[in-house]
């Protein structure tokens, strides 16, 4: 009995920090792994059993992922193994030259910018950086950018404009950093200025939410001619926790808030906030990063194709219209200007 308890304890520890709804999937993955090593060490042929279990795993995974609640999706979007901007830089782009300087105050590691090459095409990459290791995550403030990050982003986007290079923005932030220095240096203005100026950039802009689309901090690099979102990513006016704390007066109500905010990819598509929803591999992007990167690569190439033929005036007019028309109102007739 004692031995059994110990074994359970080990198993519990190996699932620490994982998502509760993923447990049945992880347990089955674990079992398959055990079976495979058993086959190896004993030279038994267990192929039949393994295949059957793998089939069962696919079924369970799709059952779990077909029924994800909005709050569960938020947690998938935050999964530590989910591909982040640095994965796209190193494994999706064929080449990348980072450019660090905002020319004003400091290099903000929470936003990375630089020249990238994709299938023989040049682009300017601008992305939130969350970091992979614990140390990196701390350094990047978990993807929460300071004003200098937004100013660096605009500086490089303007460089891209001068050179006639299209821009790819990868959005993945819980929100802009709430701190003393950030406020002193005009966090709000930095975001607002980016938003306004992005409407005047004469080159194509693709914006993709790859994980968390946290409010103004996301929108600060989010004005795209095409705006996409990965299937399990979210984009929201406020974090579910923040919303729950204010409207429900309880942080525990985050799942309810996530539901009410309509922050999932599908909801955003039907609200007209995003143009494209990019499918993720079965069981989420973290289960198969390579497939995720391939999907995004296709989307970027297709987007560049569709936008590259447009004159700058046409691009900017379409970009303006798209955001100008977001959200409907009741009445408001008799207005003296045509909207």
């Amino acid at each position: 009995m004692a031995k059994q308890d110990d074994k359970n304890k080990t198993r519990d520890r190996s699932f620490e920090g994982t998502l509760a709804f993923e447990r049945p999937i992880l347990e089955m993955e674990h079992k398959i792994q055990e079976l495979k090593s058993l086959a190896e060490s004993t030279h038994l042929n267990l192929n039949g059993e393994v295949t059957a279990l793998e089939e069962r795993l696919r079924k369970v995974t799709s059952q779990v992922y077909d029924r994800l609640t909005p709050w569960e999706r938020v947690n998938v979007a935050r999964h530590p193994d989910r591909p982040v901007t640095s994965d796209y830089l190193t494994r999706m782009l064929d080449d990348f030259v980072e450019l660090h300087g905002d020319r004003l105050f400091a290099d903000d590691p929470a936003i990375v910018t630089g020249f990238g090459m994709l299938d023989g095409r040049r682009l300017m990459l601008v992305g939130h950086r969350k970091g992979k290791s614990v140390k990196e995550r701390l350094l990047c403030n978990f993807g929460c950018a300071h004003p200098e990050g937004y100013r660096k982003a605009l500086e490089k986007m303007r460089l891209a404009e001068r050179l006639g290079i299209p821009i790819l923005c990868l959005i993945n932030t819980p929100g802009a950093y709430p701190g003393i220095g950030a406020e002193e240096r005009g966090q709000a203005r930095a975001i607002a200025y980016n938003i306004r100026e992005m409407f005047g950039l004469r080159v194509p802009i693709l914006a993709l939410v790859i994980g968390e689309g946290g409010s103004g901090g996301a929108l600060g690099i989010g004005i795209g001619d095409r705006v996409g979102i990965l299937e399990h990513a979210y984009y929201s006016v406020i974090s579910p926790e923040g919303c729950a704390a204010i409207l429900w007066k309880s942080g525990d109500k985050a799942p309810e808030a996530a539901e009410a905010l309509k922050l999932t990819a599908g909801d955003l598509k039907s609200l007209g906030v995003v143009d494209d929803v990019l499918p993720e591999p079965l069981g989420g992007a973290h289960r198969n990063p390579e497939e995720t990167l391939a999907t995004v690569r296709e989307w970027v190439l297709e987007g560049l194709d569709s936008l590259s033929g447009m004159a700058p005036e046409e691009l900017m007019e379409r970009r303006f219209r798209k955001f100008r028309e977001m959200g409907e109102v009741e009445q408001g007739e008799g207005h003296p200007v045509e909207a």
Partner: protein, 306 residues
């Protein structure tokens, strides 16, 4: 006892004077007003229409109507899009349905949204003007606020008018989800065209201006004014305090702090706002202002807790 008197030390509750003249809740109807900044009790009749504490100069919140009356030439205001209303696109429900909340708010406020927009004149110079009202769901920006701001900017552009927006907001409205967030983009998109085309835009930041409004149309103005002591920021002080787990510097995120940090252009007391705006518009447009007429009468509205 007539006139202002000391009502105990700053922020102290339960003093004699406090209990004698009722609780804060009862304040609007009471004979006395306790200043939330200096703690003085002020005889209601002695409280000026500008809602500025005569003892310490604290600027109490000002309703949109009173603001318009204090700012514009008498009888010059024409409101547009007053009937515009939100549609509850998300079907948002927290502890109560958003639909009910907004109905109640409309009834109480006597207006449909958190901003009043239209045209008016200062010193005979016409302008497009928007005034936000913090009393309407915390001056939050949903689709209607975004749309009204966008139309106001387009109106100013079409008629070549200077634009003035008085801001007061807790940020984007959660009940309209990502659509509220996108109003930041919408307002900035119209401003880009207006300002690039030579338009002149003054924003006036009043207490408080935070969140999505600060991170959009409020801070991309050509001239940014603020009322004394106004709280202005991206994140609210409570959020920052919780994140950093430390006390915030004195005066942090107040108008005076932002002026020192180079984030705003001028701090203008409420009583001086009308002539200041007249001067700025005259400079920007090259027009000759008519002599400013004194605004007569009380601008109205109740003193509100900030």
């Amino acid at each position: 006892m007539i006139g202002p008197f000391r009502g105990g030390s700053r922020g102290e509750r339960g003093t004699m004077a406090w209990t004698r003249f009722g609780k804060k809740k009862d304040m609007p109807g009471g004979l006395w007003i306790k200043c939330e900044a200096c703690g003085n009790m002020i005889f209601r009749k002695d409280f000026p229409g500008s809602k500025v504490c005569p003892e310490c100069g604290h600027h109490f919140p000002l309703g949109a109507e009173a603001r318009l009356r204090m700012t514009l030439d008498e009888g010059s205001f024409e409101e547009f899009w007053a009937d515009m209303r939100t549609i509850d696109r998300l079907g948002f429900v927290d502890r109560a349905p958003y639909k009910e909340k907004i109905e109640k708010t409309i009834k109480k406020a006597g207006r449909n949204e958190a901003i009043v927009t239209g045209i008016g004149a200062i010193a005979g110079m016409p302008l497009a003007i928007g005034v936000m009202d913090f009393q309407f769901l915390g001056g939050s920006m949903g689709v209607v606020v975004g749309e009204k701001v966008a139309r106001l900017v387009e109106l100013a552009r079409e008629r070549s008018l200077p634009l003035v927006i008085f801001c007061a907001s807790g940020g984007a409205r959660m009940h309209e989800g990502a659509l509220s967030l996108m109003q930041m983009a919408k307002s900035c998109a119209t401003l880009k065209r207006f300002q690039d085309g030579g338009g002149f835009y003054v924003s006036v930041l009043t207490n408080p201006t935070t969140g999505g409004v600060t991170a959009s149309f409020a801070t991309v103005a050509d001239v940014i004014l603020a009322e004394p002591g106004a709280l202005i920021g991206f994140a609210g002080p409570r959020v920052i305090k919780t994140t950093l787990k430390q006390d915030l510097p004195k005066g942090f995120q107040k108008a005076e702090f932002l002026l020192e940090k180079g984030q705003i252009d001028r701090i203008v007391p409420r009583d001086r706002m009308r002539p200041e705006l007249a001067r700025l518009i005259a400079y920007a447009t090259g027009r000759d202002p008519l002599p400013l007429k004194e605004i007569t009468g009380d601008p109205g509205g109740e003193v509100q807790a900030g």
